[in-house]
Structures are given as C-alpha cells and as structure tokens.
Symmetry: C2
Subunit: 356 residues, 2 copies
C-alpha cells in the first residue's frame, strides 16, 4: 500500500534499476542475481509498495557482504514429477529464486496445465506480488507465498509466532493490467508500526499488542502484530499465515518462521534458510481461454461499478498499484530523506556514481 | 465454529447419516448423491460446523424437489491436461461434485504431483473443509474454494457484492488429525447475524453495515457483511474473496457471485450454476515425505506450546473441530428445537421413520 510522504527526491525507474545493478555488481553479485533483485525492487517501488522497494537495497548489500546471501549461487532445480519441482536456491537472492521458480512453474504448466515449485535455502525475495505478477503478465494465473521470521501473534497467543507470511495472487485480464492481490496476513506491516512509533502517531485499533499480549494503539508499546481479523477474528489471519507456513516451510523442508533467524537481526553471515512456494496455472487448462477472459472482464466491470461509500472508491486488487505506477513512471519514484542519505552513503562506500 | 446452545435432542452420527440418506432417496436422489450429501453434512455436524451441517437437509430437500438440483446427475469429467481437468456437475449436488473432483485431483496428483479440478454447473456443497479434509486424510495437501451469492461488501463498498467465499486448506499430520483451516472471507457468517437478530443480541464491532453502508452492531439493521479485516483492512478479506471468485467462477466459466441466484431465494427450480475449485498436492512431489512429516510435527508442536492470553488457549486450525468431534461422537450430535421440528416435519412429509 502506498504511504504518503514528502519526497526529498525523485528518480526515474530506469536510473534506479541501473544504480541497483551497479551497487550489487560491486559486491561480486552475479549478473542474473543483480538483474533479478533490481527488477523486483523497482517493480515494487513503481507500484508504491515502498516497504518492499528501494529502501531494501542497503539491507541486501549488508546481507550479501556479510555472507548471509550467496552472491554467485548455483541454484539447482529438480523436476520431481511432471507438475512439481524443488529449487535449491543455494542461499542466493530470493528474487532470483522467485523468478527462476516461476519460469519452471510456467514450463510445467505449459505441459500439464499446472506447475508448482517449492523453493528451499533461499533468502528474502522482496514483494511476493512480483512473482505472481510475472505469471499473470505471461498469461497465467499465479500464486506466490513466503514465510518469514516471527512478528505476528497467534490468535489468543501472547507474543509473535508467525511471520507476516504474504499471499500474492494474480490473474491476467485482457487489455488491462493484471488482477493483483499482494497481502500480508497481519493487518499492518511491522515497518509501519516503526514509522508510527518514530513520529508518535496513534495506530488504528486492534492491530498490535504490547509485551503482555494486551491490545494497544501506542506504536511505541507494540511487541507483536495481530493476525488479520484482530482480537475477535484473528484465528482467520493466523490460519492463513499457517497455510503459508505449511506451503513455504514444511513443503520445502525449511524451518518454520518461529525458528528462523530474523531478517533484521545482527547476524549477517548465517544464511536464513527461507522457503517460498509458487503455483502457476494455464486458464485454458480448465476452460476455453475466451470464457476465462470474458469472465475476468465481467467480474471486474461489476466490481468497479459498485456504489462506494461517500468520499471513497471501490477498487479491484491492483488498481491502486497500477495508478501509482502510472504516476511514478511519469513523475519519478520518490525517495524520502532517509533513502537519499542511504543511497548517497551506498554510492560513496561502493565507489559508484551516485543516484542523485 | 461451534455455537453453544441448549440441545433439544442428541443423535448418533450413524443414525443421522442414515436418516439423511433415506430422506434424499425418497426424493429420487441417486445413491451416489445421497451418500455424498449425508457424508458431508454429518462430517460438518460432528466437527461443530453447525451452519453447514444437519440444518441444511431441509433446504436441500426443497431444492431437489423444486428442480433446482438434479437428483440423478450425469457428471462428466474431462481431463484437459495431465494435471488439470473440468467437472461438469450437471446441476447435481455440490457434495457429490466435490468428492468426485477431489478423487480426480488425487489421481492426477499421483501421476504428476499435483492436480486441480474446476467444477462448473454445480450447487451448494456444504462445508468447503470436507473436501480439503478428504485430501489430507488420504495423505495429500488439499485446497477447496467456492463462490457464493452476494452477502459481503467490497472494501469501501456500500452493499453486498461477494459471497462469503470460503477457503479450506488441509494437510496431513502423522499420527494426528489433519491440519484443517476452513474459513469464510467475511468475519462472521450471515446466519449468525440472523441468529443474533432473532434474540436481540449485539454483534461484535466492525463486522456488518446497514443499508447505507454504515457500521452497526445492531443485527436487525445488518444489510451486508464486511469482508475480513473490517472497515480498516477489509481490502484484504475482499481480495481473498476475489481470489476465490477468480478460481471458482472465472476458471470454471460460471457466473460470479454477484450475478448468482441466491441460495435462500424463492426460486427453487432454476439451477444456480455454482462453481468450485479444488487443488491436491503430493507432499513427496516436493520433498521427501519424512521431511514433510517432521516439519508438520515440529511446526504444530511449537504452535501449540505458545503462551496463551489469560483464560484462553492457543489452537491450530482444526483443533477445536477435532475436540468437538470427539465430544459429539461420544455424546451425540445436538439438535436445537428448530432442527427437531424440521426433522420431524421432514420424516412425516417423506413418509420415512423419524430420526428422534
């Protein structure tokens, strides 16, 4: 979701992507990884998913320089059956693992109608939506999920257990941008809690608890996120997070989020063993393609025509992101002052041309 | 979710199942459909999913006698590719369609690791969990989703658009009952709103809106359910409902929920054209089976060991249901006074032996 802030600078997407590739290349990252990371981060930044966009580059540089992430991985894909496979990501960048897995899933879907890839020994892959979107842009229905380290309570639990375990789902729409859902299974992301704490802004009700597991709207007291559904219906968000955990940790042989090293932890040398799961389907493996296409258009036309509450809009998943993308493609991608400082420091330290 | 009520009577699961089969057989329903409907309803009632259990039988009798549901369908499965297929349910019972689709999905998963079946021209299938559970009980990971007629608002929308569009996900656990998530993508079900309205009980906040789209806790004023996430984060519940809609309506060539005849409508003669979607995966098509099994056990052990809030419990999806099932298998399945009256009336009208 796009956050409103006063940009300290704006950059063109192409310039940002080139800078990211250069920065990573200076860290001995191989070309395929450089391209994949920059591509995923720029897509997220263009769509307004700022939590998973350009702000992550300095973190990735630390992680690859520290040895947590392998700069030149030898990823190995094993097609175990005609529709399923396993990608060992060799502790490389999750973004390369994600795009590689989607490629294999598409190849299998071309043959048998559906393809699923479990990815193990991976790392943070940015926004899950990038990989579901890749499938949809190539004409397929795509699903991408990923587990993460513990930040979210169980329903009736005191402290964090699940990660924000995102679910991304995308489907092609003829003549339009894809349908794109990309959601964490908590109500809000942890970095928004940190932003609110930094400026003393009150959180909405029913989204975080303090160290004793009590509801609070004071971001400074937040110790754990509540699952989607909050104190009353959080068993649903927690159950969805659990589904993600089964798919991306258990089906990949990786540790579940509760046992995973924290993304933001001090240890930048130990691989985290992140797992992902990707599913791709050919619409025409179920019904004629024209039937599917007509159905998507009819559904979205009805959805967008629904009467909205006063002062609000009814949007399909992705509509806000495509609008933001058009805006940022025209006006540039905004950086706040912290981003500007971090990127200047990165350019200096890596001896590359500054972005701004 | 199990609702607490004072039972007017209790019956053994086997007796209930026999009664249901007899009632449907008196309506010229074929044996396969009788078995499937009774099986699904009894499973739901044993697990405490009372909204989708025995209370539905009188409705199904009306629907099949009215001609909405075909009592002797010729369901036709087409395996379009090695991992995908389409089941034309010939306007028969959704329960038979569901179990049939899961059988085909399992057969495909045995061959290619994964199998997905889109079902069209079907009808209400009861609890989605029944079909995901069937996969898990046979050792597979299962997903079942279904669209439904409009009861739930879009985020920022005024009135109902999506159905309660459930997501059911199940996975096998060695030596234990399966992991089983079965959730509507609204916070609460519509029939709970009706129950609360009938007894004048106040609803929890942030789950329904009135006819103008305003939040209310007065069940009598409820005109639409809010998607999971409520007024602030309902874009997530609405997005999940949309994913279900794409899978079970668009990928099946059926109408989306907004255009579907209401389940509870007066018209009992026109087939509703319900769509479902089922996915089955072999765990060992991704990792060695022992790795998956160990992972499930380790995840659930950690989950169940989490400290709970005072007076509460931390449960895995399904734990509450298995507990209820053990209780009801020992003490009988409870019927409230309305159920007792409806079942007596059914026995009388169909000239079969009464249940109680």
């Amino acid at each position: 979701m796009s956050r409103t802030f006063e940009p300290a600078a704006r950059v063109a997407a192409a310039a940002l992507e080139t800078f990211m590739q250069s920065a990573l290349a200076r860290c001995e990252v191989d070309e395929a990884s450089c391209l994949a990371v920059a591509r995923a981060l720029v897509i997220a930044s263009r769509m307004g998913t700022d939590s998973h966009g350009l702000r992550l580059l300095p973190h990735y540089v630390r992680a690859v320089q520290g040895g947590r992430i392998h700069p030149r991985p030898a990823m190995r894909f094993t097609r175990r059956l005609a529709g399923t496979g396993y990608l060992d990501a060799d502790d490389g960048f999750g973004h390369l693992a994600g795009y590689t897995a989607i490629d294999h899933a598409i190849a299998m879907a071309d043959e048998v109608g559906i393809g699923a890839v479990a990815v193990g020994r991976s790392s943070h892959f940015g926004a899950a939506g990038c990989y579901a979107l890749e499938a949809a842009e190539r004409g397929y229905v795509g699903l991408a999920v990923c587990n993460a380290d513990a930040l979210v309570s169980l329903h009736h639990g005191q402290g964090p257990f699940h990660g924000t375990n995102p679910i991304a789902f995308s489907a092609p729409v003829p003549g339009q941008s894809p349908y794109l859902l990309d959601m964490a299974t908590s109500s809000i992301p942890w970095n928004r809690v940190q932003q609110y704490a930094a400026i003393g802004r009150e959180l909405p009700p029913n989204v975080v608890v303090d160290a004793a597991g009590r509801l609070t709207t004071d971001a400074a007291l937040a110790a754990s996120l509540l699952p989607l559904g909050g104190a009353d219906f959080g068993f649903k968000g927690a159950g969805l997070a659990g589904m993600v955990e089964v798919l991306s940790a258990t089906l990949t042989g990786m540790v579940h989020g509760f046992r995973m090293l924290p993304m933001g932890g001090e240890d930048m040398s130990t691989p985290r063993g992140v797992g992902h799961f990707f599913l791709v389907m050919r619409p025409d493996a179920f019904v004629e393609r024209e039937v599917f296409d007509r159905g998507m258009l009819a559904y979205l036309a009805d959805l967008r025509a629904q009467p909205a509450l006063a002062g609000e809009e009814v949007l399909a998943p992705g509509d806000r992101e495509w609008r933001c993308q058009a805006n940022r493609d025209a006006e540039g991608i905004p950086l706040d002052s912290a981003n500007v400082a971090a990127y200047a420091e990165l350019a200096e330290r890596l001896s590359i041309a500054p972005l701004i």
